[in-house]
Amino acid sequence: MTQELIIGGIVSVAFTRRTMGIMFTSIYDILGKNGADALLYNAGRNVGRAFVEKEKEITKSENIELLNKCIQIDIEAGFGKFVYDVDFNKFEGEVKLYDSFLAKSWIEFTKKKQEYPVCAFLAGYIAGIIESTFGKKVVVEEKECIALGNKLCLFEVKKDVFGD
């Protein structure tokens, strides 16, 4: 019997950054930037939604308390440190991400700065987290990225016009 990795009370798996870098750059190689962004944003959003739903069930928490629990687990899981500066009445604002595992994986594998932001999966993930925590659809776009040479990854959050 192999030993299981438990993160936040949930059975998990671990990949090296290099492996993540290979996986994600391969997707971009085949689908191109736009195609890969579309696929990964959608995947990230579904992951974010499912994560919050599971946390709701486990912790019985909601709104900001639930969001904070998710942020803490993201740190433990090595996703990076998310800082939400979002007005949750207007559903506008930005999210800072320190030490994005994705951007660092790209750099680890490619050994160079990228020409475009590479965290579409995490943009979708943030959208899914906000949607399932607060019940409002948002659109999230990465404006700055560690892979571009920025100090952190910065995501803009806007209300989704299809959210109502």
Binding site: D29, I30, L31, G35, D37, A38, Y41
Partner: protein, 118 residues
């Protein structure tokens, strides 16, 4: 305002050719405007359209050819047509109209209008 103009483009398209579903989507797969049946998931439709066009563009680039003008998926009953609408967006529709030349002409006109607005 822009959204209204884009909604009108899809409405006008439906008046000229037989369209079952249509959408204007960002190149990275987010819905901008849509006229979809209730049973169709807009988010997935948008992401799939952008992914299909992205893959087609990579394929032609890899073969040292020009970017594709459109991607057409043909089933027994319908065609799903995805077409670039400028650098920022793409236009996708599902049609069972037999006059494919007319559909493509009207789609091209609509795509040009979308590009001007965005």
């Amino acid at each position: 305002m822009k959204k209204e103009l884009l909604d009108n483009i899809l409405g006008d398209l439906k008046n000229v050719v037989s369209i079952e579903a249509s959408a204007i989507v960002t190149r990275s797969g987010l819905l901008i405007s849509a006229d979809l049946p209730q049973n169709m998931g807009g988010e997935t439709f948008a992401a799939m359209s952008a992914t299909i066009l992205g893959a087609a563009e990579t394929a032609t680039l890899e073969m040292k050819k020009r970017a594709p003008e459109r991607v057409v998926i043909t089933t027994k009953e319908e065609r799903i047509i995805t077409m670039g609408a400028g650098e920022k967006a793409l236009l996708v529709c599902i049609t069972s109209d037999h006059d494919i030349d007319l559909v493509l002409t009207e789609l091209q006109k609509a795509a040009e209008k979308v590009e001007k607005i965005l």
